[in-house]
Amino acid sequence: MSREQTFTEAICEATHQLMEEDDSVFVMGLGVDDPKAILGSTKGLLDAFGPDRIFDTPLSEDAMTGVAIGAALAGRRPIHVHIRMDFLMLAMNQLINVAAKNHYMYGGQQYVPIVIRAMIGKSWGQGAQHSQALHSFFAHVPGIKVVMPTTPYDAKGCLVEAVSDDNPVVFIEHRLLHYQKGPVPQKLYRLDQGKARVVVPGSDVTLIGLSYMAIECFRAQKYLESKGVKAEVIDPVWLVPFDLDTIIKSVEKTGHLCVVDNGWTTCGFGAEIISQVIEKLQYKLHIKVHRMGFASVTCPTTTPLEDLFYPNARTIASSVYRLLKPEQSSWIPEEREDLKSVEFKGPF
C-alpha cells in the first residue's frame, strides 16, 4: 500500500529534501521556526538545518520580500512563508515591481528564484482579511508563476518544481487542503509545471475547480452522477504557466464548461479560462459556459452569510445541471453525509 501523508506533511518533507539536496535553499517567514511550525509544514527543519537556513522574520512583509529577492540575486533560493495570503498586499511592490520584472527589465542580466508560500483561509469566521485568494492578481502580471496544488501528491511535486525554477513562483495553499491525506512517494520528485490534472473523466461537462474548489467540484460530480450527468473534473494546478490544451480537449468533447474559481469572479481567473477556451473554439463549436466563485462582496464572518459567500458541491451541482438542462426545472441535491465539506476550527 502506498504511503499516505497530509498536505502539510508533504510540504514539510519536500522542503526538508530540497534543503538537503541544495545548500542554497532556505526558509524564512514569521513563525517558521516557532513551536507550531506553520501548521507543521516547517516542523523539524530548525533542528535539521539550524537558524541560518530557517529563521523567523520581523513583521515587515514589504522589506522581507525585498530581502528574499536580494538573497536570490546573490545565488540563494529562499522560500518565504506567509500564513495568510492577505499579508501579501504589503509585499506587492517587491513582488510586482521587482520579482516579476527584474529578468525582463534588466535584459536577462538578473533572475529571481524565490518561492512565496501563501495560505488562503476559509470557514470558522476567517473574515475579510484572512480569506482572500489573490492568484488572479499574480497571474495578471507577466513574470510570476502561480501554482495552487490541491492534493498532497501535487503539493510535494509542485513545491520541488517551484523551488527548482529560476523564477519567482507564488505557491498557494488552501487552509482546508492542509488536512487532506493522500499517497505521497517518499523520494524527491518533481511534477512538470503547466500541467493540469484530470481528476475524474467525464463526457457531459467540463468542470474546472481551482485549489480547494477542485474538491468541491469532485463532490459536485458525485451529486451529478445521481442525475445521470457525467462531469469531467479538471484541476489546473498551475495558472502560470497554464495548461489550456487539456481543457480544450475536454471542452471539445463535452461542449459545456463550468469554472469554479476559489476567488471572486469579476476579472478573475475563471473569466480568463473561459475567454481562452472561447477564443480557441468559437468557430468550431457552440459551447455553453458558466462561471462560479466567491460572491462579489467582502467575506463575512457569520456562518449563515459565510456559507452563502462560497460555492459548494451542491450549488455547483445545481448550476451545472441548469447549464446542461436549462429547460428542466431547477434542482439542488440533498446534502449527503459523505460529501459534506470539512470545516476547521482554530485561530490559524
Binding site: 532556505f26 541560518d52 522574520t57 520581523p58 515587515s60 514589504d62 522589506a63 522581507m64 520580500t65 525585498g66 530581502v67 528574499a68 529577492i69 536580494g70 538573497a71 536570490a72 540575486l73 546573490a74 545565488g75 540563494r76 511592490n93 517587491q94 515591481n97 521587482v98 527584474n102 529578468h103 525582463y104 527589465m105 534588466y106 535584459g107 536577462g108 542580466q109 538578473q110 533572475y111 507577466p142 513574470g143 508563476k145 529560476d166 523564477n167
Partner: protein, 327 residues
C-alpha cells in the same frame, strides 16, 4: 590651499586623486552630452541627471573593491559609471538599442551591470533598499567578504520599507552600507515639508547602527569615511552603517534643463553648491598636462559611446517576448 583640501589631499596618493577626477569628469561630461542630445529625441527615456551630486557616487565607489555591489535609484547614471558600469552599454540603453545594458528594455531608470557589481536601479523610491539588504544576507550566508552599498535619496527615508530594511540589517548584522544622498528635494517638495524630525541621522540612530553625516559634498571625506567603515565591515565583521551625504541637484528633477524659474528653490541656494563643485575643486590639484590628457581620453570615450549607440540596431521584434521568464 585651504585646510580642508590639505587634509583631503593628504589622505590619498596621486593615482587615487586621478581616479577620483577621472570618474567625476566622465560622469559630468556624459550627462552634459545626454542633455545636449536630449532635444533631438533620440533618447526616448526619462533622464534624471546627477549633475552636482556625482561626488557621492564617486567618493563611495572609489572606496570599494571591484567585487563589492551597489544598488541604486532612478537617478543612477553617476552610480552606474562610478562603479565601473560600461559606458557604451549605458548610452545604448538610453537610445533603446539592443546593445544596451538591458537590451533596450530597461532605459535610464533601470541601469544594470552585474559583472561590475551594479545590481540595478529602481524607479519606485526605496525599492532597491531591501534588495541590497537581502544581497548582503546572501553574501553572509555564503561567507563571502564582499560588501553591499545601498544608495537612495532623502525621500526614501519616508518609505516604510526603509525602516523595515534598516531594522533587519541591524538585527542580522549584515555587511551593508546605507548611503543617503540628501539633496533636500523630493521632486519639488522640500524635506522640511515631509519629515517630522529634521535630522535624518536622528531618525536612523535609534535602530542601533553607526550614523555619520557629511555636510558639504566633500569627496575626500566621503571616500575616506566609506573606506574606513568598509574595511571594518570586511575585517571585523562589523554590521551596517548609515551615511548621509548632503549634496545638491543642479538641474530639474527629470529632464536636461534647470528649473529655478519654478520658484520652489532659489538660484541663491544653489550657488554655494556650485561654487564648491567637486570637479572644479579637484581640477586645480591635477597637473595641467595630465589633466588635458585625461580629459581628452574621456571625451573620446564618450564620443565613441554615443557613436556606438547611434549605430547599434534596435532590438528585433522577437525580443518583445524574450526574458519574461528565465528558461
Amino acid at each position: 590651499m585651504n585646510e580642508q583640501d590639505k587634509v583631503g589631499l593628504g589622505s590619498l596618493n596621486e593615482l587615487e586623486l586621478y581616479r577620483l577626477y577621472e570618474s567625476l569628469y566622465r560622469i559630468r561630461r556624459t550627462e552634459e552630452k545626454i542633455a545636449d542630445v536630449y532635444p533631438t529625441d533620440k533618447i526616448k527615456s526619462p533622464v534624471h541627471l546627477s549633475i552636482g551630486q556625482e561626488a557621492v557616487s564617486v567618493g563611495v565607489c572609489e572606496a570599494l573593491e571591484p567585487g563589492d555591489y551597489v544598488f541604486g535609484t532612478y537617478r543612477g547614471h553617476a552610480l552606474y559609471l562610478a562603479k565601473g558600469g560600461d559606458l557604451k552599454k549605458m548610452i545604448a540603453e538610453l537610445y533603446g538599442k539592443v546593445t544596451g545594458c538591458a537590451k533596450g528594455k530597461g532605459g535610464s531608470m533601470h541601469l544594470v551591470d552585474v559583472a561590475n557589481g551594479v545590481m540595478g536601479t529602481s524607479a519606485v523610491v526605496a525599492t532597491t533598499i531591501p534588495n541590497a539588504v537581502g544581497y548582503a544576507l546572501g553574501i553572509k550566508q555564503q561567507n563571502r567578504r564582499n560588501i553591499v552599498v545601498s544608495f537612495f535619496g532623502d525621500g526614501a527615508i519616508e518609505e516604510g520599507v526603509f525602516s523595515e530594511s534598516i531594522n533587519f540589517a541591524v538585527l542580522k548584522n549584515l555587511p551593508i552600507i546605507f548611503v543617503c544622498e540628501n539633496n533636500n528635494y523630493a521632486i519639488h517638495s522640500d524635506i522640511a515639508r515631509r519629515q517630522s524630525i529634521s535630522e535624518i541621522t536622528d531618525q536612523v540612530k535609534p535602530y542601533g547602527l553607526p550614523v555619520r553625516k557629511i555636510v558639504d559634498n566633500d569627496i575626500f571625506a566621503i571616500k575616506n569615511y566609506v573606506h574606513s567603515i568598509a574595511t571594518q565591515i570586511r575585517q571585523n565583521n562589523m554590521g551596517p552603517v548609515f551615511v548621509e551625504c548632503m549634496t545638491y541637484r543642479w538641474l530639474e528633477h527629470v529632464g536636461p534643463g534647470s528649473d529655478f524659474q519654478l520658484g520652489y528653490r532659489s538660484e541663491d541656494e544653489a550657488k554655494k553648491w556650485m561654487e564648491t563643485d567637486q570637479l572644479l575643486r579637484l581640477q586645480q590639484y591635477i597637473k595641467d598636462e595630465d589633466r588635458l590628457q585625461i580629459e581628452h581620453a574621456i571625451d573620446e570615450e564618450i564620443e565613441k559611446a554615443f557613436e556606438f549607440a547611434e549605430q547599434s540596431p534596435f532590438p528585433s521584434e522577437d525580443e518583445l517576448y524574450t526574458e519574461i521568464f528565465k528558461v
